[in-house]
Amino acid sequence: MDVQAIIDLEDLYQHAPCGYFSLSTTGKIIKINQTLLNWLGYDQQELLNQKFSGLLSKGGQMHFEMFFWPMATVNKRVNEFSYEVLKQNGSALPVLLNASAKLDDDGKLMAVNVVLTDISERKAFERELLQSKKSAENEKKRVQFMADLVPEIIWTATAQGRIDYVNARFCQYFDCDGQDTRFGFILSKGS
């Protein structure tokens, strides 16, 4: 088969293994590929000239206005934003979003090109990780809170012998005040 036919540019754009669209300087969709239309369940006519932020929840729209758009237009690119785009049937598609700004010769913004990657499965895994991280952080806070109520001196050190945690009683005893100064204080005692 002819190689040129396999890598036909229009076909590459329309059926790329990622969602692809371009936004005007006012954030309206000016071009969108078939892959993304298929994912979302829309016809091209339904999305052309519409604001992309209309495909986000209201909280998502806020994030888009305050983070995506300033970064895309001031920084000229957006890397790995994790968004949820609403499909025609109302369900959410988790995507990873990368964008770059297209500028004219004077450096003025002409369009923002955006690529979306479907991360439904990765997202489920990530949720579990975030959950574990959160509970680990809460557990750490809880332990430290309780350690501060204990009348004994408690401290821990790394394998290299550097103190990495002291409780409130320790600080009372050695007269160091507050969390921020603890580490420096202890180091000064050590030297």
Partner: protein, 266 residues
Amino acid sequence: MESIIKRNNVNVIGSGEQVILFAHGFGCDQNAWKFVVDAFTENYKVVLFDYTGSGSSDVGQYNADKYSKLEGYAQDVLDICEALEIRNSIFVGHSVSSMIGILAAIEHPEYFSKLVLIGPSPRYLNADNYSGGFEQKDLEGLFEFMENNYLGWSSFMAPAIMGNAERPELGEFLTGSFCSTDPDIARDFARVTFMSDNRADLAKLQVSSLTLQCSDDIIAPVSVGQYVHQHIPGNKFVQLNAAGHCPHISEPDETIAAIRSFIEQN
């Protein structure tokens, strides 16, 4: 003085006498003013800064208690005015900085001659007889989007950002850390911003002010801008064509012209 300059990454550019203080909104930092600053440096002394905890400020100075109220952020503005001995300045605040500027100007009116409020909102949540535009669940949605995107800010990045702490050349922008904030601080700032209710403060403002209202802005809708206009004594109101929440980024020319025409009249 040095400590405030460093804490808030204060940059002073321009050759004029009259000071213009540009205050960024929630989310990003002073780089947001990139497209409008040049228009003012010839005739004004332009002061740019990052709120404590944002951008290239000294994150170590962030105190969750102090910055749990907009008054804490207003104190940053007042500290900068004191450190630079600023009086009768023009304050240009975007988004939440509009309210921060109002709070600062109520406290020390002598520091300010004019306030430009870009996309102001005294309260984002709907209430009885007041439409702020948002329900609690919308804010939870925003917090979830923010949380999902903390992955872009890992603790490994922190030293790299801190490494930029030595001040850049005046007027030179650091773009590496733009919109990249410590997740805990960003969450706090989002909460204090979107849970705030400063409706009662509007009437206390004595300094002359202008509301710059964007079209099609979901964060600060036209009805909210009009509420601000109606409740601040003598407030001027200009409706911009610029769509979205950041006209200084999307339509800098129109924004510059609107600011100019207000600050150049006596």
